[in-house]
Structures are given as C-alpha cells and as structure tokens.
C-alpha cells in the first residue's frame, strides 16, 4: 500500500490518501519471471468437529460401546492404516474423495491437536484457534499478523475471505482483507446505471472520497478502508466471477467458495491467503450413522474439497496449494441422550496439497476410561491433546508461507516430527 500523508487544513482533518499498487501489472511481471504464488486455504469447520467420527479408531474396544447409535461400523470405514501407536484408523465412509487423496499421499491427518486447558466455549475456542493465543484471544488473527508482516506494498487482494464477515483469523492491524462471498455480486451499482457517463462519474467520486482516509477518526477510518478496498478490487474480482471450469462443484456454500478460490488462483490475481468455512459441526443431536447431520457434513466437505483438488490439479496449480483445516474443539467421547455429542477437547486437523507429505501424524486416543489413561481428560470424557495446534501453524508459517513462526506465534512451537509440509 502506498501511503502519502496530506493535511487538510481547511477542514481541520488529517488524512491519508491511499493508493494501492497496480496488481495486474505486478502479477504479470511475477509470472513472466517464473515466480509461483503459494496459496494457503484455511478451512474452518464451524461448531466443533467430532473427529472420532471423521477419523475413526474402529478397532478400539470402547469405540462401539461409548458411541452406541452413532459409531461408524468397522465394515464401512475407509481404512488409512495404523498410526505410530499401532491404532488402526479409517476415514468416515462419506470421505471417498479425501480417501483417494490420502492414498495419493497428499492428505495429512494430525491427530489430537489442541492446547492445555482447552476451552469448551464456541466463541472463546474459535478466538483461541484464530489468534493462536490462548492468553489473549481478543487480539489479531495469526494470519492477519502474517499479512501485517509482509513488506509493503501489500496488494488489496492479498487475502480473500469468502464469508461476509471478516473472521478473526484474518484480522490484521493494517492490511484490510476483502470479504467476497460471491464474485459475481461484487459490483458498484448506480441509480443512473443506464447512463455510462453518469455512472462512471459517480463511481469516480466514490473512489476519490474513499481515498481520503480521516486517520484521526479511527472508527470512521475503518469504514473508509472497507470502501477503499472494495472499490479498488472490483474489476479484478469480476475476472474471477467470469471463471469457467469443466469441473462440477457442488451447489453448497462451501462448494461455491472453493470454486471462487480456484478461480482466483487460476486468474492469478495475487491472493496468498483464502478463508473458507462450512457450518453445522455443533452436532448436539441426531448425528446419525448412514444418514443424519454428520453424514451431511462429511458429504459437503468431501464433495467440495474433492472438486477443488481436481480443478487445481487439472490447472497445474496443485503444487502451489495447501489447504489446512481447523475447528474450535472436538466433541465428547460418549454419545449424549440426543444421539449427538457435546463439546469436547482435542480434535483432528488435516492438510492437503501437492507438496503435502500425506499420512497419519500423532497418535489416536485410547478410549478406555481410567485415571491412568494419558490420552483422555475430564474424567475420561474428552480426548486430551497431544500436538499443540500452534505447532501445526508453525510448520505452515515456516515451511510454506516463508515466515518466522517464532515471531508470529510469540514462542517456539516448532515440532520436528510434524513433517507434513
């Protein structure tokens, strides 16, 4: 971002006049020089993912008894082998595409991720995962801090959030991340839209007004920043809205978001970090086995991610792509009275992409209740964490984003065993 300071003496207001670097040009230069853009797609499974249903320890003798009515039958899990503690594991039967990606060695599953004294609150838990800071989860997002650390000029489309609201993960101090739920609807309308000269004059006026950011009024300046970022990105986003692909994406919000991400990558508009989310993981009731809320969740996840994987693979962009999932907590081991599960602790994260070293990382919980079982907590009701989620973030920061995880995460969370990327 190019920033020049001007003082508006007449109005008594200090203001920044902001112009963004010309991104198409930068992109083309970068491409001509053979530079690749590495993309990170953060996938938030909202509500607290029941990882014991996603990655099933089907031979654990307590799995069936503690999960009566919701246990995935051994015969239908998609086996992925045994982990280092010799526990046999299988993916949920609806994750057919992810199973294929696993077999291609491009899906890594990191078991029992969490942190000490894990919060069971959706809101506090989400903030902790978003900030990577259990002590101060009201701060900036871990990826927002990454964007802040990039050298100027930072392009206005360096981040792309596919939801309407800016998630805390992407909250940055001085890099506004646009929210683009639909590339097609991302336009500037005018009451005189049939009169090109008038509509253009109006858009020009809006753009000029938004460029005079009143820095001494921070509340107002924030809205100016949103308007400015919107108006400066409309034309490039329109090019993504026109993206066509032979790959059929499911007509779910996640499917359409993944389609937009692929479009943005293919168009090479310069975005490094994408945020996508899919809701409904707060499965307090009727999780189901062959049908039910969890089956629907897995179908939505599988179909969208598989379509995306195929699309970027066809476009030759797989090696530039890393998808990383998280959820605010796992769920209670025992089924509740509503054939669902309540809020728990540790969960599974997964990473997929062309450079991912696929496989099973960490160890599964042993579901046998007992005071001496170190893999459980809360009177053996919940799964205890083994890998601090910040170690997973650290690996991504250091080995994918090219950042410095110790500075970004305020501590050394590097874990040499986490070689998934």
């Amino acid at each position: 971002m190019k920033v020049t300071r001007r003082a508006f003496v007449k109005g008594g207001l200090a203001a920044f006049t902001v112009t963004y670097a010309a991104p198409e040009f930068l992109c083309e230069v970068a491409r001509a020089q053979g530079a690749r853009t590495r993309n990170l797609v953060i996938l938030y499974l909202s509500g607290g993912n029941d990882s014991l249903s996603m990655l099933v320890p089907f031979n654990d003798p307590f799995y069936g008894s503690r999960r009566q009515g919701i246990a995935v039958p051994t015969s239908s899990v998609l086996q992925v082998g045994i982990d280092s503690s010799r526990v046999a594991l299988g993916l949920h039967p609806r994750l057919v595409g992810l199973h294929q990606i696993f077999n291609q060695g491009r899906l890594a599953l990191v078991q029992r991720t969490g942190y000490p004294n894990q919060s069971r609150s959706h809101f506090q838990g989400t903030d902790i995962w978003a900030t990577a800071d259990p002590g101060n989860p009201a701060g900036l997002g871990w990826l927002g801090r990454y964007l802040d650390s990039l050298p100027s000029p930072v392009d206005a489309l360096v981040g792309w959030n596919t939801t309407r609201d800016l998630p805390r993960v992407l909250q940055a101090d001085h890099v506004p991340v646009p929210a683009i739920p639909s590339a097609a609807g991302y336009t500037f309308a005018s009451p005189n839209s049939t009169n090109v000269a008038e509509a253009t004059a109006e858009r020009n006026a809006a753009t000029r007004i938004a460029s005079h950011v009143p820095v001494n009024q921070p509340e107002l300046a924030f809205v100016y920043g949103s308007t400015q970022a919107a108006l400066s990105t409309i034309d490039r986003v329109a090019s993504v809205g026109a993206y066509t692909t032979p790959v059929v994406y499911p007509n779910t919000s996640l499917g359409q978001a993944m389609r937009a991400v692929a479009g943005a990558m293919v168009r090479g508009i310069g975005t490094k970090v994408f945020y996508v989310t899919t809701p409904g993981f707060d499965t307090h009731a009727q999780q189901g086995v062959n049908a039910g809320s969890y089956v629907t969740l897995m179908a939505t996840l599988n179909d969208a991610i598989t379509a995306f994987y195929t699309d970027v693979q066809n476009q030759g962009l797989l090696d530039d792509t890393l998808v990383l999932s998280f959820s605010e907590f796992g769920r209670r081991i025992d089924v509740n009275g509503s054939a669902g599960t309540d809020h728990g602790a540790a969960s599974v994260m997964f990473a997929l992409g062309g450079r991912v070293n696929g496989g099973l990382y960490g160890t599964a919980p042993n579901l046998q209740p007992g005071t001496t079982n170190p893999t459980l907590e809360n009177n053996s009701a919940d799964v205890h964490f083994e890998t601090d989620f910040r170690s997973v973030y650290a690996r991504v920061v250091d080995n994918w984003l090219g950042g410095d995880s110790r500075a970004l995460l305020n501590g050394d969370f590097r874990n040499p065993a986490l070689t998934f990327i």
Binding site: S193, A206, V223
Partner: protein, 497 residues
C-alpha cells in the same frame, strides 16, 4: 430548517430507534428533554397499532414471499418484512429497538429449527414470529414474547426464553433427559444470556444441564392450531442435588437441593432467579447496553457500568428502570458519543428509508436480499452469540451491498427525493437546488449523518458538475440528485449512528 436541538433529537432517535422520520422529528421538537425520554420509555401510553397500517397507502410496501398473499405469521420472509415495517413506522421506537437487542442477546436462528424434520418452515415461522391473536393455536412466537417484554423484568424474560418453543429446539433443550443431560442450553444460559464467559466452570455446565433436564416440549392444539409447546417432563428430570461454583440463592447457598421428580421444575426456576440476580449478570448487561446504546468507541465507561448495574440490582432487573438510567446518563448525552456506533444492517436500511423516503418502495424482495448480503437476516443470527457487531459489519462485500442498496433506493425515489427538488408548478428548481453547493449543504442537513469534511463536500459538489455545467434543469436534478443521495447514504460517514 434545523431547530436548536435537532442534533440531540437525531442522536436520541438513532439510538432508541432507527433514525427519524420527518413527522417524528416534528413531534420530538415540541417536547422537553424529560418529555422526550418519557415518551421513549413509557411507550405503552401510545397505542400499539403499527401493524394495522401494513398495506395502507402512504406507508412502505411489502412483497409477499410466496403465493397466497402476505403471511407474516407463517412465512419467515413476510415476518421479516413485518418487523422492518414496524421499525420504520412505529411510534414506539424503543420497543422495536429493545426487541432487536434481545433478539441478538437470545440469538435464535430460524434456519436450524425449520430444518428439523418434525418442524419445517411454517411451524418454525410460527415459533419465531407468530402473533398469538393471529395464530390458530395461539402460538406466541419468540419475537412477540421479546417484544411484549421489551422493557419488562429480566428474570421474566429469562424464564420465558427458557420455556420458549423456538429456544427449546434451537439449543436442544427438548432432548434434555435425566439419563443423558444436554449441555447446550445449560452452557449458553450462563455464558451468553447472563453472567458471561469466565464466570462459570465446566462442572457448572454439567450441573445446569441436569437442572433443565425434563424441560422439554409436548404437542398442543389440534388441526391448523397444532404445535409444540413447553412441558415439564417430570419423569425425565434428574432429581439429584446440583452444586454450582457461584451463589444460586440470596443467602449464598451454591447447591440446589435434591428434589422429587414432581417438584423438580423448581430447580430451573431457582437457577434462573439466581442467574438473573447475580451481580455479574448486571455488569454483563450494562456493558452490552453501553455498546448498543452509547458508544462502540474506546473503552466501556466503568462508572456507567456501575450505575446501570446498580439500577438493575436495585430494581431487581426492571429493564425500564435500567433504560431510564441509560438514557439519563451523561455518557449517553456526551456529544462525543454521537455517531460512535456502527449501524447494524437493519438500522442502516431503515434509516435510509426514513431519510430518503419509502413511498413506492418495498421492504421485501431485493431489500431482504440486500440485508442478507450486508450480513443480517432477521430471525436468523449466525449462531447463539448473535451477530458479530461493530467493525465486523464492514467487510468489503457487505459495504458494497450497503452502497448498492442505497443505489436501488435512490433510483426508486428519484422523483420524490427531498420533497422534489424540482418545483413543477413553477418549472424551476427550488432554491436549495439552484447551486451544487446549496444542494449538497441541504442534503447533508436533511439526512442523519455525522459532519462531513470539506474534502468530501468538495468531491460531492465536484460530482454534481462532473458531466457538465450545473443548470438545475429538471433532467439534471432527476439524474444528479439520486446520484448525490446515493453517494451520501453510501458514504463511510453515513454508516455511523
């Protein structure tokens, strides 16, 4: 012409309502300071007749969301329109504003309830929005309950919400049994509805789930009136004693005693009373009220929180007493509090209508689509914590949607904007429209917006001249005035209330 206290009146009506219609402004100009506050608070002295005007000429229109006409008790799109209509046309602005506050506080989403196999869209709309006088089974939707109790006693509201059909579905209370207590409601009643996170423990959550075991649903009514309603299911109540980390009773006892199944419903009444009376609840609400009514800028005033908490505790949770304290506070009236709140999408949309006009416009159809794009579907908050407020409303996508809504509205109101700047009888522009400077000044005075900098003012007059010399012709006015109104209501400044 502006009056001496228009700034104060504008501030009051933006905060306790959704902006100022011209007739509201006239009414409030005639009142004393105390008269204004009492008119706002004692709204029950005014008739609750706003719904009778739906569909009448002179009021904003609606667009039935489905075939068969306007059905706000059974179609959620029409329910949304009815509420927007009330926000715009009510003479009891604080009633609608507090209802919106409670809707966000006890955030319950239509979509989850409607998706339940045994419920569906029609019943879910009834549980959320039906007026008992218009429902064949006398169902009182959650919003109607909140609206009736908007300035009622907090403990009553909490009891009503705990036995509310939509809430029992939303947080799975209908499935809470002795054998398998359901923690969803037990957690949120402490975390989000009363004391706030950090003031309860995980064992408190397990205990609260047991307290509300058996608070389920049962079938009621018949035929078209058939519906589910709260029923205490004694056989499914956990009769053991429940101990909390905080005082449940006024004498400091933390344990709800073991009770028989038949008496077990008292457990929940005790916990509700204990939570409602807890000083942390008073502080939690006072803080939220500060952010909602006073300011989102800077830190929350500790002195305000103490005074409002005290008013809450002294009055045992009487929300009218609490709101009187809020509206009489120096913080509320400090002119540094003006325009320090980020408008919610519903506030923005209704304020645009009050400022620019509503005749010939509909609060259905594309207005509802716009609200969704701005991030606020009424009756459908994203989760139990409600909407992300403040800055979170202002992503690029939602800001564009706001600007594009204003574009649609200004195009729609092209011939009516500001009492028609074109004087058709005399074939000339009215005096305020004869120069770009006069017109911009006039428009900025007419709408509820913070002062604009000279830079913005210059850009706006520049826009009026951008495509040709200013002649104040009819054609030019009817082209440029919508464009100007769009730039103003789509501006960053206008988003603040």
């Amino acid at each position: 012409m502006p009056y001496a206290f228009d700034e104060q009146i504008g501030h009051l009506l933006r905060r306790v309502g959704f902006g100022a219609r011209p007739d509201e402004l006239e009414t409030f100009r005639k009142l004393s300071f105390n008269g204004m506050i009492e008119r706002v608070l004692e709204y029950e002295r005014l008739p609750d007749d706003v719904d009778t005007h739906i569909g009448q000429p002179g009021y904003v229109g609606n667009t039935p969301s489905a075939a068969g006409g306007f059905q706000p008790n059974t179609n959620i799109g029409d329910a949304r329109q009815r509420w927007l209509f009330r926000m715009l046309h009510t003479n009891r602005p604080l009633q609608e504003k507090m209802t919106l506050f409670w809707h966000n506080h006890f955030a319950t989403a239509f979509s989850k309830i409607a998706a339940l196999g045994t419920v569906g869209q029609v019943l879910a709309t009834r549980y959320m929005a039906a007026k008992p006088t218009e429902d064949p089974g006398r169902v009182r939707g959650q919003l109607e309950m909140l609206r009736e109790n908007a300035l009622g006693n907090f403990k009553d509201i909490l009891y009503n919400i705990s036995t509310d059909t939509a809430m029992l579905y939303w947080l799975d209370g209908y499935l809470n049994t002795a054998a398998k207590p359901q923690e969803n409601f037990g957690r949120e009643i402490m975390e989000l509805f009363t004391m706030g996170v950090g003031n309860y423990t995980e064992p408190d959550v397990y205990a609260a789930a047991k307290v509300f075991s058996g608070w389920n649903l049962r079938a009621a009514g018949s035929g078209a009136g058939l519906h589910a309603e709260f029923g205490y299911n004694a056989g499914q109540h956990d009769t053991s004693a429940k101990t909390f980390s905080f005082a449940v009773y006024p004498d400091g006892r933390k344990t709800i005693p073991a009770r028989s199944n038949l008496d077990g419903m008292q457990d929940g009444r005790d916990l509700i009373a204990g939570l409602a009376a807890h000083p942390n609840t008073a502080r939690y609400l006072a803080t939220k009220l500060y952010r909602f009514f006073v300011s989102e800028a800077g830190a929350v005033s500790e002195s305000f929180v103490q005074r409002v908490s005290n008013a809450y505790l002294r009055s045992a949770g009487d929300m009218k007493t609490v709101m009187r304290e809020v509206l009489r506070s120096s913080e509320f009236w400090d002119d540094r509090s003006y325009f320090t709140r980020y408008s919610w999408p519903a506030e923005y949309v209704v304020k645009c209508l009050k400022d620019l006009g509503w005749r010939g416009f509909s609060v259905g159809g594309s207005t509802l689509t716009s609200l969704s794009g701005m991030g606020q579907e009424l009756y459908n908050p994203p989760d139990v914590a409600g909407w992300d407020l403040g800055k979170a409303w202002f992503s690029t996508g939602s800001m564009l949607t706001r600007m594009n809504f204003a574009s649609g509205l200004t195009a729609n109101q092209r011939n009516r904007l500001f009492d028609d700047a074109w004087d058709a009888a005399n074939h000339r522009a009215r005096p305020f429209a004869r120069t770009p400077e006069a017109l911009v000044t006039y428009v900025l005075e007419r709408v509820q917006t913070p002062p604009m900098s000279s830079t913005v003012y210059t850009e706006l007059t520049g826009y009026l001249r951008a495509t040709g010399e200013w002649t104040a012709s009819e054609t030019q006015l009817k082209t440029k005035l919508p464009g100007l109104a769009h730039l103003v209501t789509g501006s960053a400044e206008y988003q603040l209330v």
